[in-house]
Symmetry: C2
Subunit: 179 residues, 2 copies
DNA sequence: ACGGACATGTAATCGGTTACATGATTAC
DNA sequence: GTAATCATGTAACCGATTACATGTCCGT
């Protein structure tokens, strides 16, 4: 139930409407916790009902601005520091790796080559995003930079792994695998 | 809809019952695609109805052994080689990083220290698992090793990142962040 | 005889995705 | 006037989780 905490986290930086929050998701959290519009509005309703946030202002077009309450801040801090992050992570990429024995060895190598390529592209994309992102020493910059660094290291690691793997598969020589 | 392909992948290695498949999940795919018992039985029913697998034998206690069909193999191979793996990955760990500005700097450092620790433990756990896993040159060993290598590199990368991050936070000095 | 493993299923609930639906305000 | 943007909501569906429910076979 992390969408709830993503919303609390954004509201902790200041009041916002559902519409504002959607835009914030798109620019800041899109890569770590994507959310859809229907989801955001529904969860805001639940959060308000639970008393963790409240409608702080109403504007034109039925705009409702929400502000975080003390209970919401407490819940956010508790979740950040005391709830252990999820350990297991589904990966349909690694799932495919397990079944690479079902295709020709050359196809398996092409799979790895493509993975290396995609990771390289991600790495470049993040690097150019990094240049745009604020380089200040405020909280958001410090922690945003730390999250960004994870992405850079991850994409680099995955690219190197895929290249290593392509090579590893080649060592087994050509021909058909199984069947 | 990857559970479907996980099942096809396992059945591609040979016929099995729902019960067998559950055990296979636990030992081999638990870390990349966990599945529950109810899910497995339900999906087997759907796969059989779609003609991608069929009941190949019936045994005691209502045991139904499933075997993969040609259509199932084709679907599996198509999914492995031609369907692009999911790019975005949710991470409630990184989501927490974004909101670390909401807690004391010392708590943020403790968070990173704990992450480094957990990644180190994961790394060790995988290393000992590696020693147990078959070291042959058959398909499953080759590709199992490649997936394992990903885990080793990932956990190492994450540990190094967390240590770097803990340091990075320290550079901003002590005291309260925001609020 | 009995316990543990084998074996299959259903029901309720939840979080997430996609699509649909509607309307108000503002800038040009 | 009108198009873009602002703004909120509902409904159907899907995959995954948790809990419940039931019964059989095998080894000792």
């Amino acid at each position: 139930m992390s969408l709830r905490h993503a919303l609390l986290g954004l509201l902790a930086q200041g009041p916002a409407s559902g519409y504002d929050l959607m835009k914030l998701f798109e620019i800041s959290l899109a890569n770590v916790w994507p959310a859809t519009q229907s989801q955001v509005y529904a969860e805001l309703g639940r959060l308000a009902e639970a008393g963790l946030i409240k409608v702080s202002a109403e504007g034109p077009r039925g705009r409702k601005e929400y502000a975080i309450e003390e209970g919401g801040l407490a819940e956010l801090r508790h979740w950040v520091t005391e709830v252990e992050p999820t350990a297991i992570r589904r990966s349909d990429m690694l799932l495919r790796v397990f079944f690479l024995g079902q295709v020709h060895r050359e196809q398996a190598r092409a799979f790895m080559r493509r993975r290396a390529e995609a990771s390289g592209e991600l790495h470049e994309r993040l690097k150019s995003l990094q240049d745009i992102v604020a380089r200040g020493d405020d909280d958001l910059s410090v922690y945003g930079r730390i999250a960004m660094e994870w992405g850079l290291r991850f994409s680099a690691m995955q690219r190197e792994w895929a290249e290593w793997a392509e090579n590893e598969i080649a060592r087994g020589q050509e021909g058909r695998i199984s069947s």
